[in-house]
């Protein structure tokens, strides 16, 4: 078989592609559900209900969507410039670490500064930490041609060990009965809840605002043009006068900062202290979300709510009828692959021989 480029994409194909992708995803997951011996309709019903079916379910989904949104944006801006930042997980953790370092109750107190000032400092520190973590790989890519996929991916493991070191050492919470857990964040620095009696916090608004900001940046600013130009064709961008190195470094700072903020917002909005299992792979899932959203910042908002809904819904469905929660990972992964294939098929046609 062979792929042949289509001369033009019909509007019908553009409409059918996402529908086909959803149907294919459902088909693949259905086979697994049937294999697990569960009734199909009920399983999907419970999943939908658990993710979106009540105020509580929706609040849990939105809570889960917040870090995904931020890591999704981090991946989006980096991938736009063809900087393949696989290190959002590590950047998220150093962001969280920096947040605790600035705003934590070290020795039972904290820094003696007004909470508003401290809050700003905390967020800046988290963003800076994430940005600096990605700066090294970006410079190595721009200057020496070192593959950033390898460096950013491996940095994740180094950061996890660093966090582990801090949680068992300088930042260890003495009241945690020996658990490797950081000191708590100062109460005044925690994000307010959006809906009483739920866990949704104002980090959601922050995520949406950043998505809109990133969309405007990419669409309306010179830097946005530089980013898209470098991503689309670095040689041509350079010929047109775009400094590729400068752009890659700025994108790295931006992407790392977004992932670092994800960590700080997670600490300030949900956990209020740092543990080694704070993120179940938000950094990696962010990549999936960016791809699902076709690297569109506003699409990232929708994609992160979708993915979070599937994850949360699968948890509750699993408790009810015993299909393992891993079905959620299958659904997310299958939907990513189907969307990518569907997009490909709108641009190419398959020739069988």
């Amino acid at each position: 078989m062979r792929l042949e480029k289509r001369n033009q994409t019909s509007p019908r194909a553009l409409l059918l592609a996402p529908i086909g992708a959803v149907l294919f995803t459902l088909l693949v997951s259905s086979l697994l559900v049937l294999w697990a011996g569960a009734p199909l309709a009920r399983t999907y019903g419970l999943l939908l209900q658990g993710g979106f079916g009540s105020v509580f379910a929706l609040s849990e989904t939105l809570t889960r969507a917040i870090p995904l949104m931020l890591t999704g944006l981090a991946a989006t801006v980096a991938f736009k410039a063809r900087l393949f930042n696989i290190g959002a997980e590590g950047q998220l953790y150093v962001g969280a670490l920096a947040a605790i370092a600035v705003g934590g109750l070290h020795d039972g107190v904290g820094l003696a500064l007004p909470p508003a000032v401290l809050f700003v400092l905390m967020m800046l520190a988290a963003a800076l930490a994430g940005a600096l973590l990605l700066l090294g790989p970006a410079l190595m890519k721009a200057r020496l041609g070192v593959d950033e996929v390898v460096t950013t991916l491996l940095l994740n493991f180094i950061v996890l060990l660093l966090v582990s070191l801090m949680l068992d050492g300088p930042m260890k919470d003495p009241t945690a009965m020996g658990w490797p857990q950081s000191v708590a964040l100062m109460g005044e620095l925690e994000l307010s809840k959006l809906i009483p009696q739920t866990r949704v916090h104002s980090g959601l608004l922050c995520g949406i605002a950043l998505a809109v900001g990133l969309w405007a940046l990419l669409k309306y600013t010179v830097l946005g043009f530089d980013i898209r130009a470098v991503g689309a064709n670095a040689r041509a961008a350079s010929f047109a006068g775009v400094s590729v190195t400068r752009t890659v470094v700025l994108v790295a700072m931006l992407s790392g900062a977004l992932a670092g903020l994800a960590g700080a917002i997670e600490v300030a909005g949900r956990t209020s202290y740092l543990t080694l299992d704070m993120s179940p792979g938000y950094g990696y899932t962010g990549i999936v979300i960016a791809m699902l959203a076709a690297l569109h910042p506003l699409g990232v908002v929708a994609a992160s709510v979708f993915v979070a809904g599937v994850l949360v819904g699968a948890d509750s469905m699993s408790r009810a009828i015993g299909v393992p929660t891993y079905i959620a990972d299958v659904i997310v992964a299958a939907s990513l692959i189907s969307v990518l294939v569907a997009t490909l098929l709108t641009q190419y046609r398959v020739r069988w021989k």
Partner: protein, 554 residues
């Protein structure tokens, strides 16, 4: 007449709304060179791709030696004895010539390659057709002509008796082309048949027995090479007469605009060594040479993409900045060699591409925000003034044809954003002229060129008044791969810009272009540049000699 070895029967192929091949029937005889002549987009490549199995025809069939050829299967084409030599070589630089020839022709099931047998066979094939290449030499170290010989050997080694050569002379010096033609003569003398694809009329007449002319997917004419002329072929190929830009000498030569003093830069094949050159206002200096002899480095130096390793480049009395944005702001117009890969960013819309060179300037941005309406209006002006067709300002640049893409690149290089109001009026007038001319059907084809001359003169007058005309134009292979109409358009623009007082550096490996446009001509070989002498002091022979590295005696 000898036996028919290949027969194409009513081949048709459609891409969307484009009929790339329309009911084409052709024969190829044993021991014959058939030239396939046509402009870009005439359907030559599609036809050959169908023949070689890269595409499947929508209708029609192919017979090789009387046997029907399976459609869409390159392996079947190879097995039937069809060999293809692509314009862009498909060789591995880090392997020897022998390895390259053997690669892919050895079965995977055997544990060891049979190098000795292969070597013997290769030597035999090489001797038979007079294709001398050292089998042990690394391909990366071979000259372009030698690499082409390896490509041909590769096809012959696999038993090809029908050889397709896709624009084989595009990368060769005149002398290397002659050597190739001798090899072809030897091959047909031994009974091979050759399909020779080209759009160069002279060499088609020189090398082939029979010529088939394609235009817009149709086979418009077939003729024996002995019984036709260049003028007749050109008429068939284009469908109407073309006025070539008239060569007229430069007017008053002005001050030196750009001076290179003992400039060295780059490395490897593209290394430039102690090059000195002075470009003066109001003249075109053409650089001839086989591509890959340092032209790329020279163009990069003057496009702000590279700094000299030693020596100095002076532009209007200052050192030339090595930053594209500053260069453009100072009045350097740049036309890069590879319009698809470097000239435009295909995924981005035309308006962003039009404004891209000056996007960082106050014309198109303020406080880091793009002035979208200014940039879009500018793009509209460029599209209208340079007659770019095939998409509006919001269309992705990649959907433009090569000719229109080049007009866009030329347009943005020559149009200064600040001439907005006045130029718009001029353009509106020339546009009106064009449309009134288009009203008459047979005038239509000539209109763009006529419009160019009239409209451009006005635009130039405006530029001259406002001091925004480009001071230096660096054009690297500006007409490469364009059809005759677009070539004439681009060349007319360069001449008009020269007449308006720009210094033009034209780097081209097309000798005809160099001799038509150049007021002074220099030849580059191995990174060395000959002195730039008046065009009339050169002959084709002396240029050819200098291109091959001989001494300049002119």
């Amino acid at each position: 007449m000898s036996a028919v070895v290949l027969e194409l029967k009513s081949i048709s192929k459609r891409f969307g709304t484009l009929l790339a091949n329309d009911d084409i029937s052709l024969n190829l005889h044993r021991g014959e060179v058939l030239a396939l002549l046509g402009e870009n987009g005439a359907g030559k490549s599609t036809l050959v791709s169908i023949l070689f199995g890269h595409y499947t025809a929508d209708a029609g069939e192919i017979e090789v030696f009387g046997q029907r050829l399976a459609a869409g299967d390159p392996k079947a084409a190879l097995a039937a004895g069809i060999g293809m030599v692509h314009q862009h070589f498909t060789l591995a630089d880090n392997l020897s010539a022998l390895d390259n020839v053997m690669m892919g022709s050895e079965p995977l099931s055997q544990p060891f390659t049979r190098r000795r047998a292969a070597r013997t066979r290769l030597d035999e094939v090489a001797r038979r057709f007079g294709l001398g290449v050292d089998p042990a030499a690394l391909v990366g170290k071979l000259s372009v002509g030698e690499r082409q010989r390896v490509e041909i050997l590769k096809a012959l080694y696999r038993g090809a008796c029908i050889l397709i050569l896709d624009e084989p002379t595009a990368v060769l010096t005149p002398a290397e082309s002659e050597a190739l033609f001798e090899v072809l003569a030897q091959m047909v003398a031994q009974g091979l048949s050759i399909i020779f694809i080209s759009h160069k009329l002279g060499e088609v007449l020189r090398v082939s027995d029979r010529i088939a002319v394609l235009r817009s997917g149709k086979l418009v004419a077939q003729a024996s090479a002995r019984e036709t002329t260049q003028a007749q072929l050109a008429l068939w190929m284009v469908g109407h007469a073309i006025d070539a830009p008239s060569r007229h000498p430069a007017g008053t030569i002005g001050e030196p605009v750009c001076v290179l003093q003992q400039v060295s830069a780059g490395s490897g094949r593209e290394r430039l060594q102690e090059v000195s050159l002075s470009l003066q206002a109001g003249e075109i200096v053409a650089i001839a040479g086989v591509s890959g002899n340092g032209q790329g480095t020279l163009a990069e130096l003057l496009s702000g993409m590279r700094v000299p390793a030693s020596g100095r480049i002076e532009f209007l009395g200052q050192t030339l900045p090595a930053e594209p944005g500053q260069l453009v702001a100072l009045g350097v117009a740049r036309i890069p060699e590879d319009r698809h890969q470097i000239g435009v960013i295909g995924d981005l819309p035309i308006w962003e591409n039009a404004a891209s060179e000056r996007l960082h300037s106050p014309h198109f941005s303020r406080w880091g925000w793009v002035r979208r309406s200014a940039a879009q209006a500018y793009a509209q002006r460029v599209l209208a003034a340079f007659d770019v067709r095939g998409g509006g300002a919001a269309t992705a640049a990649r959907s433009l044809s090569g000719g229109n893409m080049q007009k866009l690149i030329l347009g943005r290089a020559l149009t200064h954003p600040s001439t907005s109001a006045v130029t718009a009026a001029v353009i509106a007038r020339s546009e009106a002229t064009r449309q009134s001319m288009s009203a008459s059907k047979d005038m239509d084809r000539h209109a763009p060129l006529a419009m160019t001359k009239g409209g451009l003169a006005m635009t130039n007058a405006v530029h001259a008044m406002t001091g925004t005309a480009p001071r230096l134009i660096v054009a690297h292979q500006p007409t490469w791969g364009l059809d005759i109409g677009a070539v004439a358009y681009v060349q007319a623009q360069l001449i008009a810009a020269r007449d308006a007082g720009a210094a033009v550096l034209l780097i081209s490996d097309d000798l005809d272009e160099v001799l038509t446009l150049g007021d002074r001509v220099a030849v580059i070989h191995g990174g060395h540049l000959t002195p730039a002498l008046p065009a009339l002091e050169w002959t084709r022979e002396s240029i050819g000699l200098a291109m091959a590295g001989g001494e300049v005696t002119a």
